[in-house]
């Protein structure tokens, strides 16, 4: 990546925050600010206008999903902002709320555990900063086990491919992971998009929509995402 990615980091536990700063700087990210609460995150992001925000979900002041709500708010203010949220545990609704913000691109939802795999974690950050979408494999795996999956029409192979799309992988990367040719992957992707009723337009966007469909567990999603009443929208 020729250009340095500028980051604002939010994590309330001091040691982990420092560890993450060390990690980011080591891999060539520029950390503009490292904060410990949702209001500070909003303030720092508005001030520094970074390329990427990495934030914890449960943070002060509410210690509920404050970090996620701040991230969604920032996404609506700055549609070009890339956001990766870290969660201590799998919550499909979180991922969906995040993907619904903006066009569903430049977002990532990862389990906090993933930072242990340093190289992979940084790779995920780069995918999101580069315009991709990353959803934690655990979320994907849980959704795959739903018997009433609206994606029941998909073959097992197509499900596998969709799971890898959700992790933000390119056709080439998927081909490598599944030990098939890139052309075969292209065919699978085409089948998936057709089965989900996603008409050909911008290919990257359709890939994101396929993932959204997946996460919502409902019929093919519209990019506006007005039907979801998840944690952020449904809160009183």
């Amino acid at each position: 990546m020729p250009q340095v990615t500028r980051v604002v980091l939010a994590e309330d536990e001091v040691l982990l925050r420092e560890g993450l700063v060390g990690l980011l700087e080591r891999f060539g990210f520029e950390v503009l600010a490292a904060v410990g609460s949702a209001p500070e995150l909003l303030e720092a992001t508005r001030l520094h206008r970074p390329d990427l925000v990495v934030t914890d979900i449960r943070m002060p002041p509410g210690r509920r999903d404050d970090g996620l709500r701040a991230a969604v708010a920032l996404r609506s203010e700055q549609p070009e902002l890339a956001v990766v949220v870290l969660s201590q545990h799998v919550q499909a609704g979180y991922a969906a709320a995040l993907l619904d913000s903006g066009d569903g691109r430049r977002v990532g939802y990862l389990l906090k555990d993933r930072v242990a795999e340093v190289v992979e974690f940084v790779e995920h950050l780069r995918i999101v900063a580069g315009g991709g979408t990353v959803v934690d494999p655990d979320v994907v795996r849980r959704l795959l086990h739903r018997p009433h999956d609206p994606l029941a029409a998909l073959s097992p192979r197509e499900r596998e491919v969709l799971a890898l799309i959700a992790e933000g992988r390119s056709n080439a990367a998927i081909a490598a992971a599944l030990h098939v040719t890139e052309a075969a992957v292209g065919k699978h992707v085409g089948n998936i998009l057709t089965k989900l009723g996603l008409l050909p337009s911008d290919d990257t966007n359709r890939r994101v929509l396929a993932v959204l469909t997946y996460l919502r567990g409902g019929p093919a999603a519209d990019p506006g995402g007005s039907t979801w009443t998840g944690p952020a929208a449904g809160r009183r």
Partner: protein
Amino acid sequence: MTSPQLPHLATALRNPRYLVSEWPWRALGYLVSTAPIAGVLSVGLLLVGAPLLAAVNAVRQHGRPIPLPLALFLTLGTLALVGFAPIVSAAVAAVERWRLGLVDPRPLPARRWSGVAERYTSASAWREVAYLVWLGGVVPVVYWVYLLLVLIDILVVTSPWLAGDADQVIVLWDIVDRPGEAVPYAIVGVLLLPVLWYGLGVIAAVQGAVARWLLGSSPDIVELREVTRSRARLVDAYEAERRRIERDLHDAAQPRLTSLTLQLGLARLDVPEDSPAARPLAVAHDQAKGLMIMLRQIVHGIRPQSLTDLNLAGAVRELADEAAVPVTVHADLDRPVPENVETTAWYVVSESLNNVTRHASATRAEVRLTQAGDRLVVEVSDDGRGGADPARGTGLTGLADRVSAAGGRLLLASPPGGPTLVRVELPCHR
């Protein structure tokens, strides 16, 4: 509560050797010692009761209005009676509990004096007042009737002698004037003596049973409510404790461990593959990662994080998302739900949806969360085959226990063939 091995009058009455045992004498002692107490009480009752009855009778039969002084006397008398009865009854009840030992040695817990106000508010104090009315109003009537029967019997037994002395003796419905004619009556009278002797025991036994019933430890509503409340407090404390542990682990231990694992991961990048430190470092890193997963599962087992992070409606939607059949969620919650109620409601939905998956063979389910008054109402329904039976161990009993510990109730409608509806009502304020 009672000790069945301890003999008392009621059991002795069934013994064939009753008439020659000590029990009739105990019964006699009990009745004789009752007489003065019952006498005093009945005078107190008559003082107000007799003019009252007369006045009511006068109004009914002759339409005469009650004179003002009498009305005043009756009102004041009644008020005094009602006012003093709870105080008097405390003393009488204490004596009566002690006296009951004559015919019924089974222990009867004494009530401690806990203030004048308590005499007017507690249910057991008013049960003692009821005992007062029974002792002053009913017991004397029974005694008079019995006494009359005894006198008649004595008359019958002694009739042959009496008939010899005088010209005529009237015995009940027949006129007897010679001793010989009176002999059959006398024989019947003698035969009746053991019956009367036995009847004495019956009267004493009934009186003892009433005393035990009214003066014994009654299930006091006030105390019961207090017990329920303290159990609810315990459940609350337990829930708060779980929440605190979950928070400590989530906010302190988990990030620290993540940080440690991150540092180990970073260290691995700097150590060359062929270094002697590479292998142990890799093992440490893997173990730390394993511990992270383990800790995450432990924390989840303590309290569902979705409840901590989201509100009840959000957490229930998460549950619905993970269910094996499509689940529609309707949440209409205007007011905040207390934390402990949220947790119970979450378990209700979780367990019910599990049951739907395991037993109902349903194609779809519905969860409804509403607030009615100060209660949270949770309804889980499915279109399955029904026939859910708590006795078959479908987790319904455990669920009902949990709901009742939170002061709520669980209603189930599940006819064979379906559909099944589980409705749980939980109070939000205590």
